[in-house]
């Protein structure tokens, strides 16, 4: 099971990369835990997650080839 993680805005200052591929993660809670271990500053950053472009409000199961985006507060316009 392959998952693509995308980072945007100020989060890329923390991760130093725009995306990462990860395997075999059950749900978004598990993913958050793993990312916070890998990039500790993420844990104190404001962001929401979108699974396949839909913003989620509670832990969501991940499926093969899905894309999870970490979205910090928007500042367009």
């Amino acid at each position: 099971m392959q998952i693509t993680i995308l980072f945007f805005g100020q989060l890329t200052d923390i991760t130093g990369m725009a995306s990462i591929q990860l395997e075999d993660i059950t749900d978004t809670d598990a993913l958050a835990l793993l990312l916070h271990q890998k990039f500790p500053a993420l844990a104190s950053s404001k962001y929401v997650m979108a699974v396949d472009k839909k913003v989620i409000n509670s832990s969501t199961l991940l499926t093969n080839n899905c894309t999870v985006a970490l979205l910090p507060p928007f500042s367009g316009g």
Binding site: F8, G9, A50, K53, F74, S75, G76, G77
Partner: protein, 147 residues
């Protein structure tokens, strides 16, 4: 499922004034229009802790932004009797004084286009996954956050 690919709204660099003028001119052939309401977002040369903002560099999650914009557009057209609406947002660097957002709503009577334009601007700022990085004159930066 969307029936068609969402319309692109993104332009590289600033929205230039002559493009806006041309855009207005094109609407003269639509004689059902009685009013246009336009909003333009311009990059401010703010001073933050002694540093001057010289530009904002915009980035987006494009696919998601375009789908979201399509949803906003559809709900605005359901709510207001518009003739047409056009939205352009910059990506990449936009210098202070340049324009990064152009929203252009038209209708037979003024109330609809004025309300639609304002609501679209608010929703763009609140709902589109776009990020602005304020570039300072000392080459440092800070990420903007919408109020």
């Amino acid at each position: 499922m969307k029936e068609h690919k969402p319309k692109n709204i993104f332009v590289q660099g600033p929205v230039v004034a002559s493009f806006i003028g041309d855009s207005i001119h094109k609407h003269s052939s639509n004689t059902a229009i009685g009013g246009h309401s336009i909003f333009l977002g311009q990059v401010r040369e703010d001073i933050i802790e002694g540093k001057k903002v010289i530009a904002i560099e915009y980035s987006t999650f494009e696919e998601m932004a375009l789908e979201k914009m399509q949803t906003i557009r559809e709900s605005i057209f359901e709510k207001y009797p518009l003739t047409c609406m056009h939205v352009y947002h910059s990506l990449g660097k936009v210098a202070a004084g340049e324009i990064s957002l152009f929203v252009f709503a038209s209708s037979a009577h003024r109330k609809a286009c004025i309300a639609a334009c304002e609501e679209t601007v608010e929703r763009i700022k609140a709902e589109l996954p776009i990020w602005g990085k304020e570039i300072f004159d000392n080459e440092t930066h800070q990420w903007k956050e919408n109020k």
